[in-house]
Point group: D2
């Protein structure tokens, strides 16, 4: 950390800073003073994770406080150089293992779900997605089947052997979702629902953590840090598009999040091209791009009749299109 | 709503659309066809709130589906032309009544809280803020005193008579917060925590709903709609800065949200200049701007010693600065 | 400047850095080494304006290079503590002097221009705006009257005594615009047209520099630095809304740019609420907010019949609305 | 186009609209009225490219005006269904032909340029890039060698046979650049320098048009439309990263621009991963992603000693890294 003092700060105020910084750090850190002309700065080394930039910057004598190291620890590549590999019923994600998760946006009926599960399996998907609880912008939109949806997902798993990925929207339904799911998803709008992250930290199931719509990579990895610090190191990150001024696509896929996360963290990262673009016609090129950029997998929305889906129809692939996508993604994987 | 068909759509597919749209609307709507050259579009009138744009756009024959009316109803100015006025222990917000809420970011001790409460009251604040549960980006940061903080807030209310505003971070602590608070805050990161919005809809206390970091005004008002549709019409909106590429300030205060919300909705809207800029030196000019733009009030962070605050010190005002702010805000209010 | 080395950089590479940094700075600077555990960083003091962060960060041994001082000099408050005051035909801007610039988006005819000029003058405007060259997104839109427009502006000045503000869209028409204009505007899309900035630096007329749609404040002030470094210190900055995900307004007025520029620079800053929101109904509240935040003036679009304007009609005020705005802005100014 | 009237608009005002719209369109269009409850809307068909949404929305009776067709014509896929293929000295771009453009950010010396040209050619590049005029944020940074740089580029072309791509920063140096360059680049900051676009429209050399930092795809294609409407249909689009809140990378590569442009336009689109991320370590994965998404080529910064480059060193690849990139990009291309 670097703390830059305002030009002209009285010498006695500069002199008091080291002690203040050490006290605020709540642990032993080393503070160095560098002075020139009428200005001074301090460099801090050691464990500065408890230091709050905002609080340091509150001093009227401090011009800026800058972190030069990442504020997350357990999620960082420095802490664990080797890739985390997550295994679910024999299916691995991370460390070179790629996984394709596919299925409808929401569980609509047993018939739909079991049909689709068999289909996506036959086309090469290794996990099944489907929402029983749906976060919807409008209170008047379909909100998911709830526990009935979870039961249907379990039936689809039984029928096909595919592990299931489904979302927990809050602490109050987490237990129930945990009972049924193989991987528990935390949605983009809940990426900083800190109670939910803490609850996920106590689970023994892997967590699929989606990046918030306007989350920086640092905040994304800090959310993962909450889960790991809580005791659960099985975190799969998911880039699903960020919000920009762009309006042709629903969101803007931040493809560089893939290589960036690979540099910063040991956690696997997958890509959701369906939510990122919101247009079925663009899902396949983005899926190929994601794999070419080094993603550990994909999560894709597939529906028999998108125009009759209860949500997110515009971005769902018909089965034949999903088959095409799988074929071209396989070629990319083979090339790498 | 307008549904534009792709050029060259077969006539029989165009012919099938009206029935599909009426079925999807789940209520009686009127569908008009307009046709020219090789293209067609439908205009839909009536209650289209159950129609999902995404699902309609999923048809391979649909080029675009556009909503021409707002998707919220109860929160809209069209539904209720008169301003909503919210009253808390004799203090009113909305319809020309302005309220200044002030206090520290987080409750740290009874001494701090009672001292600050007396002080902000003497300087003209009409409500007291203070967090007992704190949403923090880092799991290693101070997370708030929890119920002890709520008890301290109640003591400060007793000592000063100021109603208290404090945040509920999840459904699981809502009951407890509801017991103590006069106004329950829902934080920016929880603006689309739909379970929390539904719980707030069942409360009989006013809700202070903060705008999400990257929420459009439509999403902001849809979040309010969740609360009102759940049964609680006492919603106070709060603009607290949005996320942009700008980096000099912590967030970017979207001052135009104030007149925009006044056009679109009957709900009161206040401004939080402290979180919007993240710099104490800029809080006063932004507070004046907010009142000049027509805001129904302000929520301001005040701390005796910001550099010793447990959070958000950089944006907290010292008491004398808050006194100055109150004086200049009063002048603006008098001028209007 | 701070240069952070990668953990584990060989000692001999660390040892070579100071000389490299000094050479790159092209002037005498002081380099300090701070070392801890397996990491090192350098602090640089003195004139680092010629050092290119990108180039330093290109070394495989450098983790990050951070500037801790602003890269602009002549435009900075540190360089010139007193406010710059710009005077045009007796009308002053800056240092407490406020100016209201008003007029149509584009010059359409002598009759329109002279009529509007008289009108805005009678309502209190102190300068006249009007575009003879119009930057238009579409090649099929009206592109301005060119030199004829400049002549009409000169007639309007003669008729009313109001100094005129008009845009120079490129170096090739700068001479002509300079001949007629009292203040030469550089538009948002040209904020980083560096040839144009250099030409403006050679002018002896004041320059009204609009902020680019996605320019940081640092880039905005660096654009001003180009003009001042070229020899023209008469620069008026103009905040006119930035581009965000927000879609209710045309752009998002960054009101905090006003107090921020006041901290960082001695240059006057005015606000253009018309382009910022793009809706006539919101121009007045934003104008009031701008003055309350401390802006040195406003630039407002006014048109007799906005629905017959050749551009920007949606944001133009009818004369009676402009009169109302002037009345309420005067009250705010009196209150401050 | 759809024009929605405000609820409660007097019947006589509704009645006047069709004539107004037809007059504003300046050509024959068909206007249809759809009416329900207390509201009305008009649908407009035919050539609406001269209609200005802003002006229509200026009427106090108009609630919203929406364009349902793209405002560009010559650049659209509808106008020309077949891909445009551009040929430069036997090298083709578009319609399945891929081109790799490589070279340093700026021309520094004949030795550097000729050396690098031979090297990138031997590694598989088909065109050479290098800037003689450099747009720099700071007036104190290296601004390019100017005409001397152009002469050096010509020498490098002579030595290697590689066609050269170099930037024209303004109309005043366009003639000179045109004389030397094989492809003339228009930089991101000049994407809406309309005088420059018009000049480019009169050139008989292909134009490489970079997307502005915050340009929508519509604005990007409208900039291309300026060039084509001016008479030059040889336009190559280049996605080079947009500005978002993201701060780990210099910009955010909008990978979905590739498939989106393929849907909307017949023009070739290439990707610049170097500027998009600003970090050499991420250039290769992004280059692979771009080709996997269907880009028609790449433009890559390569430098012998990035830490001694006069600009953009942080994102330049050393020759061996560029060799690696070429090898892996070739594998992706073979897989597609």
């Amino acid at each position: 950390m670097v703390v830059v003092m305002r030009p002209g700060t009285p010498a006695e105020e500069v002199a008091k800073m080291p002690e203040r910084l050490i006290r605020a750090a709540q642990t032993e850190i080393t503070v160095n003073l560098v002075q020139w002309a009428d200005q001074a700065l301090f460099t801090l080394s050691g464990d500065t994770s408890r230091l709050d930039l905002e609080v340091i910057a509150a001093s009227p004598y401090v011009e800026r406080a800058l972190r030069i190291q990442q504020p997350y620890k357990l999620a960082s590549r420095a802490f664990q150089p080797a890739d985390t590999v997550i295994e679910i019923s024999g299916c691995k994600i991370g460390g070179g293992h790629k996984a394709i998760i596919a299925g409808p946006c929401s569980v609509e009926s047993a018939e739909q779900m079991i049909g689709l599960a068999g289909l996506v399996k036959s086309l090469g998907a290794s996990l099944l997605r489907g929402g029983a609880y749906k976060p919807r912008t409008s209170p008047y939109s379909f909100q998911g089947l709830g526990e009935e949806g979870l039961k249907i997902l379990a039936m689809a798993r039984e029928a096909t052997g595919l592990p299931i990925v489904t979302e927990a929207m809050g602490v109050e339904t987490f237990d129930l979702v945990e009972e049924y799911a193989d991987i528990i998803q935390i949605g983009a709008r809940n990426m900083q629902n800190f109670f939910l992250l803490k609850r996920a930290g106590k689970s023994n199931k892997p967590i699929l953590l989606k990046r918030g719509l306007s989350a920086t990579l640092e905040e994304f990895l800090m959310a993962a840090e909450y889960i790991i610090a809580g005791g659960n190191s099985q975190v799969i990150l998911c880039e699903r598009g960020i919000r920009t001024f762009d309006n042709y696509t629903r969101n803007t896929l931040d493809i560089s999040a893939v290589p960036a996360v690979k540099e910063l963290s040991h956690l696997p990262i997958i890509v959701d091209p369906s939510h990122a673009c919101g247009r079925w016609s663009m899902v396949e090129p983005l899926a190929k791009a994601a794999m070419a950029a080094g993603a550990d997998g994909l999560i894709i929305e597939v529906h028999h009749q998108p125009e009759r889906a209860l949500c997110d129809g515009a971005q769902s692939l018909r089965p034949e299109k999903f088959g095409q996508l799988m074929a071209s993604v396989r070629k990319i994987m083979a090339a790498m």
